[in-house]
C-alpha cells in the first residue's frame, strides 16, 4: 500500500524551476492570462518557468505551452509546480499529481457551486460537485495554497489548508491598451449601453440582467441597449432559456455577442454607459476592474467576492429589485455629477491591482514557499 507523503517544515534549496499546470489555456480568459503573466514574471525573475496543460492550447496564446505528459522530465525535488484548480481534474490526473514528489502549490480560482448547473449542463453539474470533493482530497498531499481573494482563501482554509497565501489575479492593463474595433465603436457610440462581460453561465444570472433591462427599457431609458459579452460554450440550453425570456418579454436591443476579440472587448468597454453585474458567484471579478479601467461606473449585486474586489468602489446593491435597480441605472446615466464622482472614486482602486504589485506579491510568495513553507520529502 502506498503511504501518503509526510510533511515537515524545512527549507528547500532555492528552486530554479517553477512550472505551472492547468487543465486548459485559452485565449483571453482571466485565469489563462493570470497563468501566462505568472510564467512571464517568474522567467523575468530568473526562474525557468514552463506552462503544462492537459488539453491542447491555441497556438496564438503568446507563450509556449507543453503537454502535461512531458512534465515528468522537468520535475526535480527542488522545483515547484503551481497547480491551477478551476473545476475538477480527471481521476488519472489526481493520481499523477499525488505521485509527484516535488513541491506543489495549489492555485485556487474557485468552483461554481454545482447547483447552478442543475438542468442546464449535467457534465458541469457533476464536475463542479466532484471538484469540491477533490479540493478536500488535494489538501491531503498539497500543503500550500494560493487564493485569488480572501473569499477563496477562506474556502481553502475550510477545506483543510493551513498555509494559504492571497494573490489577486493578475490585471495587466497593457493588454487593454489595444486599438478598439471601429465596427463596434461606430455601432455603440449612440444611446445608453448597459454592459456585462462574462461567459454565459447560470451563476452569472443573465435572467436577472434581462429582467432589470425590461424595466430600464420600458420605464427609464427607452434608448437603452443591453450588451452581453461572453461565450456560451457548453451552456446552449441556458442560452436558449435566455432567448425564451427575451421573446416572452419582447425585449428589443439585447446584443449577445459570443466570444469577442480583445479589440472588440475594448470597444464594448469604451462605448459602455454602465456596467451591471447580477452575478451570484464570483471568485474574483476581473471585468469589474476592466470597467473601472475604462471609467465605466460599476453597479453590482453584492455577492461572494464582488464587494472584496470592488473594495468600496462602484455601487453595490443588496437586493435584486429590478425596478429599483433600473431607476438606479437611470440616475447613474443621467446625473452627470454623480456619474463623475463614482468614476473618480473607482479609479483609485486600480493602484491596488497594479501589475507591478502583482509581480511583487507573486515573488514574495515564491520566496516564502521556498524558504519556510512545509515541504514534502
Amino acid at each position: 500500500m502506498e503511504h501518503p507523503p509526510t510533511y515537515t517544515r524545512q527549507h528547500m534549496n532555492k528552486p530554479s524551476q517553477i512550472h505551472q499546470f492547468s487543465t486548459d489555456i485559452s485565449l483571453g480568459d482571466a485565469v489563462s492570462n493570470h497563468i501566462l503573466d505568472t510564467a512571464k514574471t517568474l522567467n523575468d525573475a530568473g526562474y525557468s518557468s514552463k506552462v503544462f496543460c492537459e488539453n491542447p492550447a491555441p497556438a496564438d496564446v503568446g507563450y509556449p505551452i507543453y503537454p502535461i505528459d512531458s512534465y515528468e522530465n522537468e520535475a526535480s525535488i527542488d522545483s515547484i509546480l503551481f497547480v491551477h484548480f478551476t473545476i475538477c481534474y480527471p481521476q488519472q490526473m489526481m493520481v499523477r499529481l499525488k505521485k509527484l514528489h516535488n513541491k506543489k502549490v495549489l492555485v485556487y480560482h474557485n468552483i461554481t457551486p454545482h447547483v447552478y448547473f442543475y438542468g442546464i449542463n449535467e457534465g458541469s453539474y457533476h464536475a463542479a460537485q466532484l471538484g469540491r470533493q477533490q479540493l478536500r482530497f488535494l489538501a491531503s498531499f498539497i500543503d500550500t495554497a494560493i487564493g485569488d481573494s480572501s473569499y477563496n482563501c477562506a474556502e481553502l482554509r475550510a477545506n483543510g489548508w493551513e498555509t494559504v497565501y492571497q494573490l489577486p489575479i493578475s490585471f495587466d492593463t497593457a493588454r487593454l491598451d489595444t486599438k478598439p474595433s471601429s465596427r463596434v465603436m461606430n455601432w455603440g457610440e449612440e444611446g445608453t449601453n448597459i454592459l456585462f462581460v462574462g461567459r454565459i453561465a447560470p451563476n452569472k444570472k443573465f435572467e436577472d440582467l434581462l429582467l432589470t433591462y425590461y424595466y430600464v427599457k420600458n420605464r427609464v431609458l427607452p434608448d437603452a441597449r443591453l450588451v452581453l459579452v461572453g461565450s456560451d460554450s457548453g451552456m446552449q440550453s441556458y442560452a436558449g432559456y435566455l432567448q425564451a425570456i427575451i421573446k416572452r418579454l419582447q425585449l428589443s436591443d439585447v446584443h449577445i455577442t459570443g466570444h469577442v476579440s480583445i479589440s472588440e472587448l475594448v470597444a464594448y468597454y469604451r462605448t459602455a454607459s454602465i456596467y451591471l453585474s447580477m452575478s451570484e458567484h464570483e471568485g474574483f471579478g476581473v471585468p469589474l476592474l476592466e470597467s473601472i479601467y475604462f471609467d465605466v461606473p460599476v453597479l453590482a449585486y453584492k455577492s461572494t467576492a464582488v464587494p472584496e474586489t470592488l473594495a468600496g468602489r462602484g455601487v453595490l446593491f443588496t437586493e435584486k429589485r429590478y425596478d429599483a435597480v433600473a431607476e438606479l441605472i437611470g440616475t447613474l446615466v443621467n446625473d452627470k455629477e454623480l456619474h463623475q464622482q463614482i468614476v473618480t472614486n473607482q479609479r483609485s482602486l486600480l493602484k491596488n491591482y497594479s501589475y507591478k504589485s502583482f509581480q511583487e506579491k507573486l515573488l514574495t510568495i515564491v520566496d516564502s514557499v521556498a524558504n519556510g513553507a512545509p515541504t514534502s520529502i
Binding site: Y118, G119, E207, L211, R219, Y241, I245, K302, P307, G312, R313, G314, V315, L316, F317, T318, E319, R321, Y322, D323, A324, E327, L328, G330, T331, L338, Q341, I342, N345
Partner: protein, 163 residues
C-alpha cells in the same frame, strides 16, 4: 408609496455621496411609475427553477395542494449520499485499527457507488416531476384567473343585453 426596507438597498462607500438621498429619489420615481401604470398590486413574474415554488406562495391555491407541494419541495434537497464513518473502538486499535478503518471505508464507498448511481438518477427524476407539478400548479391558477375574468366579462355583457 412603495414599502421601505429597514436595510440599505444600495451601498456606496464615498463620503461625497449620500446613498439614502439617491434612494429617496428612486423610491419617488418608482412610486410615480407604478401609479401611472397601475402596477401597485402587480408582482413581476419570476423565472428559474428556484423561483417557481416561491411563486406558489403568492397564489390562491387549494390549501391541500399547497401543503403537499410545500412538503415535496422541502424534502427534495434532503438526499445525502456521502459516507460518514465515525470511529469505533475497533478502529482505534493500533495498526490493525487503521487497516480496519481503510477496509471499512472502501467497503462503504463500494456500496455507495452503486447506491449513489441509482439514487442520483431517481433524484433527478423526482426533481423534474416536482418542477412539473409546481409549474402545473401555476398554470392552473393562471387559467383559473382567466376563467374568472371571462366569467365577469360574460356577466357584464349579459347584464348589458338585458338592459
Amino acid at each position: 408609496m412603495i414599502e421601505q426596507n429597514n436595510h440599505q438597498l444600495i451601498e456606496i462607500d464615498d463620503p461625497e455621496i449620500d446613498p439614502e438621498q439617491i434612494m429617496v429619489e428612486i423610491r419617488r420615481r418608482m412610486w410615480v411609475e407604478r401609479k401611472k401604470r397601475k402596477y401597485d398590486q402587480q408582482n413581476f413574474p419570476k423565472f428559474g427553477q428556484s423561483d417557481v415554488f416561491n411563486r406558489l406562495a403568492d397564489l390562491e391555491l387549494d390549501s391541500e395542494l399547497y401543503r403537499y407541494l410545500d412538503k415535496a419541495n422541502n424534502a427534495i434537497g434532503g438526499v445525502d449520499t456521502s459516507a460518514v464513518l465515525v470511529d469505533s473502538p475497533a478502529t482505534r486499535v493500533p495498526i490493525l485499527g487503521k487497516i480496519w478503518r481503510i477496509i471499512r471505508a472502501n467497503a462503504h464507498q463500494l456500496v455507495l457507488f452503486y447506491v449513489n448511481r441509482t439514487t442520483r438518477q431517481q433524484t433527478t427524476v423526482n426533481q423534474e416531476m416536482l418542477n412539473t407539478l409546481n409549474r402545473l400548479a401555476i398554470l392552473i391558477q393562471e387559467q383559473n384567473e382567466t376563467i374568472e375574468m371571462l366569467r365577469a366579462e360574460l356577466e357584464t355583457s349579459v347584464e348589458k343585453q338585458a338592459q
